[in-house]
């Protein structure tokens, strides 16, 4: 059974269609990424999943429990950080955790609090007021409160915002560890490289719709790739290749870039050799997720600026 399913979920605010017929499922132990430009509806969708916003249409189920009709059962499986992990700065970290533990109805709360505090590495500082914490420590406290109730689904909205590179790396490792332990994680991020490194599957949102939903590896492999070829005379090489119907261009000094899939590369090399172009190196230019993402969203960019989805959802 999927940990999280969204079926035909839409949200209209006023006359604006913020989220438009979103369908998705997150499987156990999977890290699922939400990717999209600002205003694509990521945050609105995430807020609907954690019960902060009521969907206008469609159903959201966590472990089979509908979030609108069976809120308590659904949310008892969810831990979340929604944007910045705001906790009560006038309380200590322990008081914060006691607060959330009471609401989650956790048995043996004391022991569980010690466990999560150890897990996120806040031992020793747990009785300090949160206002004396650094941003990184607050983030860890945010993770601690999200993990407190041993959720089946961890929802993280822009979790690495404001973290330094070491913190991001640490965070990424923690997420992967949690997923290996069977927890499902839903992450949204504007850092494409982050999603690429953290997630198993990714949904790309644009104007409130999911325009692509694939495994990260297929997204990287499946798009048109290219070959980068180091040659003696790049202009001559491009001319020769264009005569033979190749899609080639000068990429840098002595480097040309030819759009092709891997199987055509031997023929490409033969063509160059016949034209007496010296080849120094041939390497596949595997496109990153970022390029794939831009490619997927690029042709719609012009129209998206006029669609009414901007702003609200990402606030």
């Amino acid at each position: 059974m999927s940990v999280l399913t969204l079926e035909h979920v839409s949200k209209t605010i006023g006359r604006r269609l913020i989220v438009d017929d979103v369908n998705m499922a997150v499987e156990p132990g999977e890290v699922y990424g939400f990717l999209g430009p600002n205003g694509a509806g990521k945050t609105t969708t995430i807020r609907m999943i954690v019960g902060l916003i009521r969907p206008t249409k469609g159903s959201i189920r966590v472990m089979g429990h509908d979030i609108s009709r069976d809120r308590r059962a659904a949310l008892s499986h969810v831990g979340a950080i929604v944007e910045n992990p705001e906790t009560y700065s006038y309380l200590t970290a322990r008081q914060n955790l006691v607060h959330y533990a009471r609401l989650a109805g956790i048995p043996h709360a004391k022991r569980r609090i010690e466990e999560v505090v150890d897990l996120v590495g806040l031992t020793g500082r747990v009785d300090d007021k949160v206002k004396r914490y650094s941003l990184g420590m607050r983030q860890r406290l945010g993770v601690a409160q999200a993990l407190l109730a041993n959720p089946k689904l961890l929802v993280l909205d822009e979790p690495t915002n404001g973290l330094d590179p070491a913190g991001i790396r640490e965070f990424r490792e923690m997420i992967r560890n949690l997923a290996q332990g069977g927890m499902s994680v839903l992450v949204s991020s504007h850092l494409l490289s982050e999603i690429q490194m953290m997630c198993d599957r990714v949904a790309i949102l644009k104007g409130g719709r999911i325009i692509a939903q694939r495994s990260v590896s297929s997204l990287v492999d499946g798009t048109a790739s290219a070959a980068m070829i180091r040659v003696s005379n790049e202009n001559a090489a491009v001319r020769v290749l264009k005569d033979r119907q190749w899609d080639a261009e000068v990429s840098a000094a002595h480097v040309i870039r030819v759009r092709t899939d891997g199987s055509a590369i031997p023929k490409l090399i033969r063509d160059l050799v016949r034209a007496e172009i010296d080849i120094y190196a041939v390497e596949p230019a595997r496109e990153s997720l970022e390029e794939a993402f831009l490619e997927l969203t690029d042709d719609k960019l012009a129209s998206s600026s006029s669609t009414p989805a901007g702003g609200v959802a990402n606030a």
């Binding site: 916003i53 308590r72 949310l75 929604v82 705001e86 409160q145």
Partner: protein, 407 residues
């Protein structure tokens, strides 16, 4: 039930650790200090002009005046003056005697007063002056109570801490105490919206209804605690300065009032202005309470009124996203409301909550006399309850439905 208790425990923990709690407590202490200062000052004045030595001096002055009048040519005017002076001297000497023997002859004095009042009442009846008649009836109830329950009046010059308290409360309930309630409660929800913590609060497996209701309960508990603490402190300070005298003196509560147009008396200029209404008291439902009991019940009633103010502030905190805005609006409602009620002369004010914040005056009938309408304690309680319930339901309805879009 258990969930609600958890929410309450959480909200109480947060409430007690917020800065606002301390701001409210310090302001409360400031109000008590203000009361102490003004009571002490009044008391010193009172001692200066209302002590045996002051009275002796007045007697001496009066005697001088009599001597002066006698030196002049006797006219009706000077005769009347001398008679008045003599009466005043007699009363002053009575005061001095009472002061010196500690009210030994109070029973006789009360009996004399009863006789006098009964005569007044008869005269008023002859003139069909129902206002004066009913006032005299009230005085008789008080005087008879004193005799029946063996309660001597205050020694001349003595002030009652209970009366000082109730008169200060009538000011405090209009501005000071509502201010404290607003400061304490007006950001209960909006504070969390402003800081963003509302998001992590509302994603728990607890219904929004319970979260908000728990918040409301914690607000009510804190408001009640603060109001009672300030009232008790005021009373203790009053008793500390003025002593505990007068605790058993009677207070009439629950008196009903009707209003009549007084008959034109002969020789009076015909009144062409708006009809002058005079109160007539009816004592069928009147209770006679000793002052201390009146004050204890009064503190409870004041607390109830402050709970309603706090509920209005609570609604503001649920409606507005910014803590600043909700506090400002709640303050505006309470302060502007309080001021405008005293300006507007319309029947509408009966339905407004600031009219009934000083439930002491509803109970004694002072409010009825002021509004020239038959307003009782029950009226006040019903109006306040209506405001409280409507505001609570409105905040619950709004809060359980709203989308948390940007917090």
């Amino acid at each position: 039930m258990l969930e609600l208790a958890s929410v309450f425990a959480n909200e109480w923990m947060k409430l007690m650790r917020r800065k606002r709690m301390w701001v409210a407590a310090v302001l409360g202490a400031f109000v008590v200090g203000l009361f102490a200062l003004s009571t002490y000052h009044d008391h010193q004045e009172q001692l200066r002009y209302n002590s045996p030595s002051a009275w002796q001096q007045q007697v001496a002055t009066l005697k001088q005046d009599i001597a002066q009048q006698k030196a002049q040519k006797m006219t009706d005017q000077t005769k009347a003056q001398i008679q008045a002076d003599n009466q005043q001297i007699k009363s002053l000497q009575g005061q001095i005697a009472a002061y010196q023997n500690g009210n030994e002859n109070w029973r006789q004095n009360v009996r004399d007063e009863i006789t006098q009042t009964k005569q007044d009442e008869k005269m008023a009846a002859a003139e069909h002056d129902s206002t004066t008649m009913s006032m005299d009836q009230g005085s008789l109830l008080r005087l008879n109570y004193q005799l029946a329950h063996d309660v001597p009046p205050l020694v001349p010059g003595e002030q009652s801490a209970y009366q000082e308290f109730t008169s200060f409360i009538s000011v405090a309930t209009q501005i000071f105490l509502p201010l404290l309630a607003v400061i304490l409660v007006a950001d209960m929800v909006s504070g969390e919206t402003t800081s963003g913590t509302i998001k992590l609060l509302l994603i728990r497996p607890v219904s929004r209804f319970k979260i908000l209701f728990g918040k409301w309960l914690a607000s009510m508990a804190a408001t009640a605690a603060l109001t009672v603490a300030v009232c008790v402190a005021l009373l203790l300070v009053g008793c500390g300065i003025l002593g505990t005298g007068g605790a058993k003196l009677p207070e009439l509560v629950g008196t009903r009032y009707t209003f009549v147009q007084q008959p034109q008396q002969s020789g009076q200029v015909v009144n062409t202005g708006p009809a002058q209404l005079d109160p007539v008291a009816h004592y069928a439902h009147t209770l006679i309470l000793p002052e201390w009991q009146f004050v204890v019940y009064g503190i409870l009633l004041t607390t109830l009124a402050m709970l309603v103010v706090a509920t209005i502030a609570f609604l503001c905190s649920a409606l507005f996203k910014s803590a600043m805005a909700s506090t400002a609006v709640a303050l505006g409602v309470v302060i502007i409301g309080g001021i405008s009620v005293s300006f507007v002369h319309s029947k509408v004010v009966v339905a407004l909550f600031p009219t009934h914040l000083n439930l002491f005056s509803n109970w004694t009938g002072a409010l009825a006399e002021q509004l020239k309408m038959s307003v009782t304690l029950t009226t006040g309680l019903v109006v306040l309850a209506a405001w409280g319930i409507v505001c609570l339901i409105a905040s619950l309805l709004y809060f359980t439905r709203k989308d948390v879009l940007n917090a």
